[in-house]
């Protein structure tokens, strides 16, 4: 058995473009290159038709009407448009927003930008399992609250928020509900009508589509959600997002959505879950002092985030360099601060330094998984053999009893 190295287990960072998706895109670069806004010749018609088919494909994945899809450059733009766009449009109603400490930077920084404009933002904390407390959300909503933004699934720990319950609370209080669903699409069923979502950010490259294209779902039915656009121009996308449509990218996102739905409908995602469960079970069987970060029950089927106590994350990544993963360790970031998401869960900073995120995907094979498991076990043992902390713990020393000199 030979496994092709390196093995990609970082599918929460990005995913490879599915060859079927890439193939569908190519004709729209060379052959059908028209501007979808050109109404007077066949080049334009072909482009427009492709864009509308993709819109239907994406809408079908989330139970929306095609008219509710706005193409953007990616989820960062979608989050900016949703949050700033809604805040600005509903400014007269109020200037208060609610979000969560574990959100993606694109959400948090959009909120910070609004704060500088005079808006007020409440950042909800999370429980140790990474989920918000619904009563805390209820208590945080005020008469001047215009938007609640809570992500569907967290990018680091894969924890799923109670979206349907949040949707019901927001609907009852007449507050617009935005969710960043980038990580959830194609991994868990997402139906905007059932969930009571008003605005939803999506990205192609997390679901085997190309980078540089995303979309925002904007509810048109009751209640209709209005936004102030971020970009001025030719009035594309019903005026919400001006700019010539990137037809080949849009075609790619449409096909990516089509195959993401197929993963859910055919049970392919259950196979991914089986491999993820096998990895976790195998690690627990062979290693001690492992800590799962975030809820197990409310979690994406392809995510595992574990702290390997007494083994620093970056050293671990160097040791398993044939496997591409991510770490919440400070040493992997420019800021030298460990993951703010793990800190929000109340994970000890010591353990945050030892966290590794595994993101399985559509193309992960059993052979790759077995290879990865064996390598991880071997390297964790090797690094623990080298770890003074592991040695001290095994000698019965309580690490908390030692006066460490912070540096």
């Amino acid at each position: 058995m030979t496994v092709k190295l390196p093995i990609y287990l970082d599918n929460q960072a990005t995913t490879p473009v599915d060859p079927r998706v890439a193939e569908a895109m190519i004709p729209y670069l060379t052959q059908f290159f028209g501007n979808a806004a050109s109404r007077n010749h066949s080049f334009g018609w072909a482009a427009e038709e492709a864009v509308e088919i993709a819109r239907e494909e994406l809408a079908a994945l989330i139970g929306a009407s095609p008219k509710e899809i706005v193409w953007t450059s990616g989820a960062t733009e979608s989050n900016n448009l949703a949050i700033k766009g809604a805040a600005h449009y509903y400014e007269k109603k109020g200037k208060h927003l609610i979000t969560v400490a574990t959100e993606h930077k694109a959400v948090l920084d959009s909120c910070h930008a609004l704060e500088r404009e005079g808006y007020e933002v409440t950042y909800l904390g999370v429980q140790p399992d990474g989920r918000i407390d619904l009563d805390e959300l209820r208590g945080a909503i005020r008469d001047d609250t215009v938007l609640v933004s809570v992500m569907f699934a967290n990018n680091e720990i894969g924890v799923l928020q109670p979206i349907k319950e949040i949707g019901a609370i927001c609907r009852e209080r007449g507050v617009v509900f935005h969710t960043d669903a980038v990580q959830a699409l194609g991994k868990v069923p997402v139906d905007v009508a059932e969930l009571g979502v008003d605005l939803m950010s999506m990205s192609a490259h997390k679901m085997y589509g190309p980078k540089g294209i995303g979309a925002l779902y904007v509810r048109r039915g009751r209640p209709r959600v209005r936004l102030q656009p971020l970009i001025d121009g030719g009035g594309h996308e019903r005026g919400l997002r001006s700019g010539t449509l990137a037809v080949h990218q849009i075609v790619g996102m449409g096909k990516a959505a089509l195959y993401a739905k197929e993963d859910l409908d055919t049970g392919k995602i259950d196979e991914v879950r089986r491999l993820r469960d096998k990895l976790w079970a195998g690690l627990q069987e062979q290693l001690d002092e492992l800590y799962l970060n975030g809820s197990w029950d409310h979690r994406l089927p392809n995510n595992l985030n574990i702290s390997f106590a007494y083994v620093e994350g970056e050293a671990m990544m160097m040791a398993i360099k044939d496997i591409a993963v991510s770490s919440g360790s400070a040493c992997t970031s420019a800021s030298l601060e460990p993951s703010y998401v793990l800190r929000a869960l109340g994970v000890d900073v010591e353990l945050a330094h030892t966290s590794i995120r595994f993101g399985l995907g559509r193309f992960t094979t059993e052979e790759e998984l077995d290879y990865a498991l064996a390598l991880i076990v071997e390297k964790v043992r090797w690094l623990r053999e080298m770890s003074p902390l592991y040695e001290m713990v095994k000698e019965g020393i309580d690490l908390k009893s030692i006066e460490w000199a912070a540096h």
């Binding site: 007494y310 083994v311 620093e312 994350g313 970056e314 050293a315 160097m318 360790s329 400070a330 040493c331 420019a334 030298l336 460990p338 900073v349 010591e350 330094h353 053999e385 080298m386 770890s387 003074p388 902390l389 592991y390 040695e391 690490l399 460490w404 000199a405 912070a406 540096h407």
Partner: protein, 129 residues
Amino acid sequence: MAYSDKLIDHYENPQNVGSMDKAAPDVGTGLVGAPACGDVMKLQLKINDDGIIEDAKFKTFGCGSAIASSSLVTTMVKGQSIEAAEQIKNSDIAAELALPPVKIHCSVLAEDAIKAAIADYRKKRAQQG
């Protein structure tokens, strides 16, 4: 981040990993850093009556640069006098491994570990009279 070949070699094939009896009178132990900061180094030096470092062992919790810095330090101090070992500067370690700027603190920690191990040895000697 691109690491030097020398750093990667010291990380993948670390020299002198292990522990010595910390109660032995001729062993000085330095434990520096903090788990909360993401790196802890334990450096042990076995020093003879002539003040020569006969052996060095380390264990390190930390990133690849911290492990490589510790490994390098053990090879630098072996066979040296205490006085010569004390002269080793973090900049020597950083230069040898071509540490990137964000990893300079690893070399500082390694220098601290040498000083701490020697201080522990001297304390033991003083207590013995």
